[in-house]
Symmetry: C2
Subunit: 502 residues, 2 copies
């Protein structure tokens, strides 16, 4: 047999399987393999092969002739020790690619097609360019709403599901795009203090400066074992954790690694992504927040309304009790952007601190109120008042402290990044607009969410009067290179428009 010795190559290729073969390999001809672009690596006759894109190596210290190198991810999938004997073969394209080609040709696909594509992608049979082909074919004009439903179901079926054993499991989700929008960390303690079950699993930020999991991590552990998670939820009616421990709709995580660098953000993909994760997480009642504004996901009321209809169509057919609210997305929420700064805002609101950002408080109360109205005993229109009462009385703070203790309080208290730069107004007037995307970009360049203290602290919001030379916001960073990237971005484009008389 034509075996090679397996070798682990310590390269993280960002969710693509890559195999490394020396150009002078005498067992296999690298050029013949490379033109076809993908190979199958077999560990034994009757075992599913690992499929990888091929890179050709000319350096024995990476992969020598007679060896087959695999990147970290592919090596882990094969599950063998270094030095194990493996064979390689030309990979046949996954069968479901035929459906992708039909989609490219403009056809409507059936549920079985989406399920087959989902299974092949989750089994790592697609290369990144094949995933890109699928995503583009489905983007924008390409997907009927029935197809969005099929994709959502396929995403759920190819992953695990959580089960909470109660008839009302509440959740909320924002379609994203608004920096500082940390309402979940207020909505969850308010709703749980009322007694409703709200086990909140969140993602970490991918291209934003902070996700709920990143910000919560400033205060407590968020990476919990499943058993402990269930114990906390049973006792406290809530949690605020990272959802990555369970394999909920894993297809979504894989596709995101291609969607984001392509800036693909179609309504269909977004709907399938959000609803599959929520249903897999066991939610029965879901509130979706669609911010509307020129630099928000919902550019106009019209696009937001279309998105709402799509959520409703798919949610209804999957037995989810789903409500959508359109909110003001013209500027960031609260003052801080980045984990530490956002957690400060959240704790100020919970503490009823006089400096607490009122927009974060009001939005959270409004969302919490709508969720409380999922409770059959709460009269329509009364939710807001109940939420406000829970927050003002300190019961929300008390619940949050209990959740933090249960998850494991973070003993060190991270501070805002010590490298600081104030961005000043070039002229006086009123703040006419704040660009969400640019503020997120600056905070991200400053090091958020990796450096917890990095980010942007806003001193002025929409409609505020400002004098020339007054600070608009402060950039915080922990590392010089990041600090420089963020300052450069802010000096090219501050993100603020100022006009009229103060």
């Amino acid at each position: 047999m034509n075996t090679l010795k397996l070798r682990r190559v310590a390269i993280d290729t960002h969710k693509e399987n890559v195999a490394y073969l020396h150009r002078d390999c005498t067992v296999y001809r690298t050029e013949g393999f490379q033109a076809l672009s993908k190979i199958e690596i077999h560990r034994a006759e009757n075992h599913a092969p690992v499929i990888a894109v091929l890179n050709v190596v000319d350096d024995d210290s990476i992969t020598a002739p007679g060896q087959l190198g695999l990147c970290e991810q592919a090596f882990a999938q094969l599950g063998l020790e270094e030095g194990a004997a493996v064979t390689a073969a030309h990979a046949k394209p996954p069968l479901s690619l035929a459906a992708v080609h039909r989609k490219i040709a403009g056809e409507r696909l059936a549920f079985d097609d989406y399920l087959a594509i989902s299974k092949d992608i989750v089994a790592n049979r697609y290369s990144r360019i094949e995933m890109a082909a699928f995503l583009v074919a489905c983007a924008e004009t390409g997907m009927e709403r029935e197809e969005v439903l099929y994709l959502t179901r396929s995403m759920i079926e190819t992953g695990e599901r959580l089960e909470w054993g109660e008839p009302l499991v509440a959740d909320k989700h924002c379609v994203g795009g608004i920096p500082g929008n940390r309402t979940s960390m207020l909505v969850v303690p308010i709703v749980a203090a009322h007694g409703m079950l709200i086990p909140k699993t969140s993602s970490r930020a991918i291209t934003s400066p902070a996700g709920t999991a990143d910000t919560m991590e400033v205060l407590a552990r968020v990476n919990l074992e499943m058993e402990r998670l269930h114990r906390i939820v049973r006792k406290h009616r809530a949690c605020l954790v990272w959802g990555g421990t369970a394999r909920l709709a894993p297809l979504d995580d894989i596709l995101i690694a291609v969607e984001r660098p392509l800036s693909l953000d179609s309504a269909g993909q977004m709907t399938a992504s959000i609803l599959s994760k929520k249903i897999a997480a066991g939610s029965t009642h879901l509130l979706i927040d669609i911010p509307v504004g020129p630099s928000a996901k919902g550019r106009s009321s019209l696009t937001a309304m279309r998105l709402r209809k799509l959520f409703e169509y798919v949610g209804d057919r999957l037995g989810l009790h789903l409500e959508v609210v359109l909110t003001d997305g013209r500027q960031p929420i609260g003052r801080g952007i980045g984990p530490v700064l956002e957690s400060r805002d959240v704790m100020q609101v919970l503490n009823n601190h006089p400096d607490a950002p009122s927009d974060l408080r009001e939005k959270s109360l409004r969302l919490a109120g709508r969720i409380l109205e999922f409770d059959p005993d709460v009269r329509g229109g009364q939710g807001y008042a109940i939420a406000r009462d829970i927050l003002d009385s300190g019961r929300a703070l008390e619940k949050m402290q209990a959740i933090i203790e249960a998850q494991g309080r973070n003993d060190s208290t991270p501070q805002p990044g010590h490298l600081q730069h104030r961005v000043l107004a070039a002229r006086g007037g009123l703040v006419r607009s704040i660009d969400n995307l640019q503020m997120a970009r600056i905070a991200r360049l400053a090091g958020a969410p990796l450096d917890k203290g990095a980010g942007v602290d806003l001193h002025k919001k929409l409609g505020d009067a400002v004098e020339a030379g007054e600070p608009l916001y402060t950039i915080h960073a922990e590392f010089p290179a990041d600090f420089q990237f963020a300052r450069e971005a802010a000096s090219q484009e501050s993100g603020y428009r100022i006009g009229g008389e103060p």
Copy 2:
């Protein structure tokens, strides 16, 4: 400044720029970079950066902290020595990606859009997934014929052009898909013997078992310097060389590296690809061969006719004198598939050998005849007879020998691969169909075109009577692993259908 030491990483990533950064790099945070997926590498302030996808490394022997590794292709583009100081930054997406997003959304793009996209791709500013997004958005239903014209013009304008200084520069091209279809090596000497200028530049095989350049290389050098090429063409009126020396429509070569693994083969892309290469190569008169058959590019007369109209539309607007012929594409042409076997067939026809495959001879005479009719002095309908006379008289052989001598005769005469396996008929009857794609696949797996002697030698063609146990074809290979791949493929699916009574 935040500089890193440049390091060359001896990995060939197949036409994608990849940068390697150690996970513990103290200058740049790899995770922050990786989420955005692309970085810019700068050698100096006012120099165009090289853009690369980022891989994160955990092995100092590949790239250590403080170093920036680049794959072979990106290292060559940056053009610096190892150890040089470089800086990195977050790459902004190329501006032309906005046009790709408009295309995804279903818009028609303008010439300026296609030109901007072409320039960015040729400058290596696109990742492979971005190219895939562009190709899929343009595939099948996505491109108006004006857009095909724009793309063709953009492909020509972003590369070099050859100039022959004569009013009639003939060329032929087959859209491909038919194994053994080596008519160019017969058409070129026939046409040149008549006195017409036909400087033939061909590609090497990408996913087929042999291109004209691969087969010609069995007989002579095909990789010639531009000056020598011009000298040969002036003297002999012809050449048969590899076109890769000049940068003719380089966009096409880059896109093919993504198109082929995706099996994207839309009419628009094919038209732009072929016509841009031919016009850049200086052709004024072009004959295009579209084989029609169930496993050919033209599946039916209807698809072939649509393709013909598209070629005519774009060719006419670019001032090309273009003729299209539809030919029989139901089976391979000649007997051999693979460089050595195909060159044997070609030389048998030139030598008027009694065993010469008659279908290869007839098709070549027909094509050569049509090209000869580009000559104003040749009466319509007389081309075939002139071509036959040139071939039968030995003047075509004489011209071929002159071309071989001028390019540099290959002294060693490669033989068909010594590993041989005969595939036998499972039953008797008449050969009802031969699958072009499967025969190409088997020849390719056997090692063609890299191993010149590898391939398939057909003993039976359509309509031939065959008895059970009689050989249908012989597989030739030079390496055991390839031999095994090819035999396995043939045993799973021979590619032949036999039915009825002998």
